[in-house]
Each structure stands twice: as C-alpha cells, then as structure tokens.
C-alpha cells in the first residue's frame, strides 16, 4: 500500500487562490471576476497585484457570467468566481447560452461545493453542480482533491481553451499530493494499485478513500484507488483498466449520486464492462447545518462509508 502523508491541512479554495496569484504573475490575459466573495475565494493577492484585471460585480452572478463571456471576445481568459451554488444552479441558463453554447473560454471557479461548507446549511450546499455542469456539451468539469492539486488545476485550466467548471471547497483538508505537480486535464491518477476492488474518488473523498484502502488492506482486502480529478472528459481507459482487473467498483464523491461521478462511471462500465458498483454519495437529499465532519458522517461520505461500500460490493462480485 502506497502511504500518503498529510503535509498539513489546508483548504482547497486557498489552493485556488495560490493558483490565481501565480497566474496573475505569469499570464497577462487572465482576468478575475467575483460576486462579493473575494475573501472566501482567496483571490485578494491576485487583486492587489493586478487591480486592473479584477472586476467586482457585486451580488449579481448572472451578470458576472455574461461579462465573463464577453471578456473572452478580445482574448481575455476570465475566471468567474463565487460559491458553487451561485456559480451553477443560479445561473444555469447564462452558462448554457452565453458560455457553453457560445464556446467561450470562461473558467467558472466554484468554492464551497458540497456539504462541507458546514454551518451555512443547505441553501449554500450544492450537491447537484457536477451533474448540472457535466450535462453541458463542451464543458470540462474538474474537482481536485487537495490544496496542491487545486493550485495545479487552476494553473492548468488557463492553458486549456474552452469552458471549464472548477469545483473546490471550504474546509481545511489533508494536503497530500505533490507540490508543483503537473496537472493533466482528463487524466486519472493511480494512487494505489490493488486487485480486489477499485475505489474511484473525486475531490475531498480521495483522502477518505486512501484511509479506507489502508484500513481494508489490514483486513486483507487489496484496494486500487483512482483519483478522478476530471469528471468530464472522463478517463474511461483508466477506469476500465482498473475495473477489468478488480471486477468491482466503489465510487466516492461529495455530491448527489444522481448526476455525479458515480453515474459517469456507471455509464462507462455499462457500455463497456458491466461490473458491480456501490455509490458513496448523498442519496438524493439536501444537506443541513453542522460541522464538516458531522455532515460527512451523517450523509455517509467518509472513510467508514467507503469501507462499508467496499464490503458490500465484494459480496456482489
């Protein structure tokens, strides 16, 4: 079992902020927009260093998406930033028509995704955003797992032409991937090779998957762990190679089981290599107020839930 070390807990949104700081220094075409959440999005350094390349739009997300679309006309690379709920559901038609259908090079950067934003409760905890975004033709959907990977993803999407949805979160979580890693959009990362079951995870659940794999290894169950940071386009070859080896899969994500990573994996398997699958995801429900840990426990999104899902799926092999 490959052991990963937590280099110290950090929030993925700060990884985004660090990526923006670097982009501000290296790519003069990158511009940022925010809808009254600069502090939460951690982009103050970008703003301080590039005031002429930042646009505060106020609490007006629809307008922000449209302005971002317009900024691409003239070669700018706009990063439109707010909470995931307001970056997707609230402005779906603006994204659909002005960005996705119009093939605009806009980066929609969404913090506070999932239940782990905590105490603010379900009004702010979107669990449907991956589904909403992956259904849009041409949209790339990325959900990195920790600070380092979020920073790398932020830098990488500036080099990719086309609309991107970059999803990250609020809580401080273990930072375990490499500093200054190269981020390849659409490339699954093999974190641990195994033979009994594939655990395919995204975002905050990747670390939980590694802990689960370690515990299961001690019980004699060999788990393969894949980090799917890019949900669309999905690295189908990596998924199939893994499941063809292990014969079953557990998917893990901080998202509704409807429309999330799990369904994308299901579709891939159903059409290529049918295999038993268990979903670690929210069960078509809204979230609620609580601490991140309490919510992960209550909604079945932690190590314990992954371990239980693995034991279940093994019975179905």
């Amino acid at each position: 079992m490959t052991i990963y070390t937590d280099q110290g807990k950090q929030d993925t949104r700060s990884g985004f902020g660090a990526g923006m700081t670097e982009l501000g220094r290296t790519n003069p075409n990158v511009v940022a927009l925010c809808a009254d959440l600069v502090g939460s999005l951690k982009i103050q350094t970008f703003i301080d260093e590039n005031p002429e390349r930042f646009f505060q739009v106020g609490i007006a997300e629809a307008n922000m998406m449209g302005i971002a679309a317009g900024l691409t006309i003239g070669g700018k690379i706009p990063f439109a930033t707010t909470f995931a709920n307001f970056a997707t559901g609230r402005v779906y038609d603006q994204i659909r028509q002005s960005i996705a259908y119009s093939d605009k090079n806009v980066k929609i950067c969404a913090s506070h995704a999932g239940v782990t934003l905590g105490e603010d409760g379900a009004t702010h905890q979107i669990l449907e955003d991956i589904g909403l975004m992956k259904m849009l033709p041409g949209m790339t959907v990325i959900n990195p797992c920790d600070f380092n990977q979020t920073k790398a993803a932020t830098i990488a999407i500036a080099e990719h032409h086309g609309p991107v949805y970059l999803r990250f979160g609020r809580p401080k979580v273990p930072n375990f991937t490499l500093v200054d890693q190269k981020f390849e959009i659409g490339k699954a990362l093999m974190l641990n090779e195994g033979t009994d079951v594939s655990i395919i995870a995204t975002g905050h659940l990747v670390w939980q998957a590694l802990l689960a794999a370690e515990n299961l290894e001690n019980q004699g169950i060999s788990c393969e762990v894949l980090n799917i940071h890019t949900i669309k386009p999905l690295d189908e070859a990596a998924v199939l190679a893994s499941v063809q080896k292990t014969g079953c899969v557990v998917t893990a994500e901080e998202h509704n089981y409807l429309g999330g990573l799990g369904e994308s994996i299901s579709r891939t398997l159903t059409t290529n290599y049918p295999a038993p699958q268990e979903f670690v995801a929210t069960q078509d429900t809204f979230g609620e107020s609580g601490t991140p840990d309490q919510l992960m426990e209550k909604y079945g999104l932690n190590t314990k839930a992954i371990e239980a899902a693995v034991l279940n799926v093994l019975k179905r092999k």
Binding site: F55, A62, N63, G66, A68
Partner: protein, 281 residues
C-alpha cells in the same frame, strides 16, 4: 459610406429578405425585425468601423451584439448584404444543417455573430464584457448592442445596467428597441416598463431619445450623436422608438406578428409594399 438612396434601397431590400425568409420556413420573427431594419442598415453601413474579414476577437474594430436574438432575420440579412457570408445562404434560414439557426449562434461558425442569443436578457452583460476587454486591450473602438424593450423585464439587464455605470463602461452604446410590444401584448399591459430612459438615467447612464427609429436620417443622427457621447465616463443608451412590423402595413402597431410568418397571399402583399430594390437573394 453609402448615399442616402442606396441606404433606402437597402432598407427595402432587407425588409423583403425578412418576410421571404420567414415565409419560406413558416416560422421566425418578422415584427421586431421589420421595426429594427433602419437601425441595422445604418449601424452596419454608416456607423460601425469594421474589418473586411470577420474574427471572433474583433480587436481594432467596432463590434455589435444582438441581445434580442429572435430578430435574427434582420441581423442575417444585413450581415449577408454587408458581405459577411454569401447572400444565397439566407435560403437556409431555420433549415436543418444551416448556419442560420432560428436564433443567432456562434456554434455553427456564422461570421458576424459573436455570442448566442435568444434566451433573453443576457446580451448587455456580454457587451459589457467585450467593452471591458477593449479597454484592457487599449482598443479605442466601440461596442454596440441592441435590446428589446420587453427583454428589459429580465432582471439580469438591471444587474448589467448597474455594473456598466459603476465601472464607467463608456465605450458601450446600448440601444433599446422601444416598440412597446411583446408576445402576449403591449409591454405596458404585460409588465409595464414605464419611463425606460429615466430608468437608465437614474442608474447613471447617458441617455438619448430617438423619436423615430424608422426614419433613416434620425437613426443616423442619433447613432452619430451617441458616438460623440462615448469616452466621457458613462455608458450610453439610445431609447429608440420604433413600430413593430414597420414597412408592411398589416403587420404594424401590433404584437400579432411578433413571431408569426405570413402566408402566400400575405407575402405577396408585403413584397408589393417593398418593391425589389437591390435584387432578391
């Protein structure tokens, strides 16, 4: 620059194009298209500085956004007659495999279109973004946009109007087609807009009235006047009074022809009122 007679001929010819295109597929939106014909003809042939070849970024030229995308017939006709794409392509309006979709889109790569529109209320935000890009690029050219009056019922417009004033987007000239009609009836009955000019003013815009948007001379004067108002710290709005369906008597002053095609007989009447001037497509 064309002489006045040429522009008049173009207006008549574009009106013929509009009713013929809509009739051909028995769908589309003739009313608003006919009402905005003078505006489009003047803007593209007298006002905007454009490069001979279309490119998406539009750096070094004036650019235009149509927010009320349903009036695509007038947009397509004027683009084609300006040389953006072959005139014959107007035959493909709303047909399968066409670049001339029911509502304008960049998706099929039609030259002259820089964003999809049709779902209303989004164009002003996009125009603002493009105007900001021009400022960042130190490109002194202007951004023009057109909006339906009924479309102003979409709240996103007011977010955009607020933003443009706050950020001094003074390289933008947004025109509102104040024809007073929308699908379900007169705007003042469906959802009253009140004094549109005053609303823009109190949001911090420089506002011009265009009393008769179906008078070529007045349209030209208003657009030229608007250009002189740019670069002074405020976005510029033209509230343009037009008559929906202008140029075809039975389509005028009513919302009935907002989104309805003429039948064969009605087409003949409409064409008779707009005799062929520059050659049909």
């Amino acid at each position: 620059m064309a002489d006045f007679k040429e522009l008049q001929d173009l207006v008549v010819q574009v009106r013929r194009d509009i009713v013929r295109m809509v009739h051909n597929v028995n769908s589309g939106h003739p009313g608003g298209s006919l009402g905005c014909t003078e505006f489009f003809v003047t803007l593209f042939n007298e006002i905007m500085v454009t490069k001979p070849e279309f490119d998406m970024d539009g750096i070094g030229e004036d650019i235009f956004f149509l927010s009320n995308g349903h009036i695509s017939p007038v947009f397509y006709s004027v683009l084609a007659r300006k040389g953006y794409f072959p005139l014959e392509e107007l035959n493909t309006f709303r047909l399968i495999d066409s670049r001339l979709q029911g509502h304008p889109t960049t998706h099929e790569g039609l030259p002259g279109v820089r964003v999809a529109s049709g779902s209303l209320g989004q164009g002003m935000s996009v125009a603002i973004g493009a105007a900001l890009a021009k400022k960042l690029n130190k490109d002194p050219h202007l951004v023009f946009s057109l909006h339906g009056d009924g479309e102003l019922q979409e709240g996103q417009n007011w977010e955009a109007i607020m933003f443009a004033a706050a950020h001094k987007v003074d390289n933008l000239i947004a025109t509102v087609d104040r024809n007073g009609q929308q699908i379900d009836g007169p705007t003042e009955e469906v959802m009253p807009l009140g004094d549109v000019a005053e609303k823009f003013k109190v949001f911090g815009w420089d506002v011009l009235h265009l009393e008769n948007g179906n008078d070529l001379q007045q349209v030209k004067e208003a657009l030229n006047e608007a250009k002189t108002r740019t670069g002074k710290g405020k976005p510029v709005c033209i509230v343009m009074q037009t008559v929906m369906g202008h140029g075809v008597d039975f389509m005028m002053h009513t919302h009935a022809w907002h989104g309805k095609a003429p039948n064969d007989e009605q087409l003949e009447t409409a064409l008779a009122q707009n005799p062929e001037a520059l050659g049909d497509y």
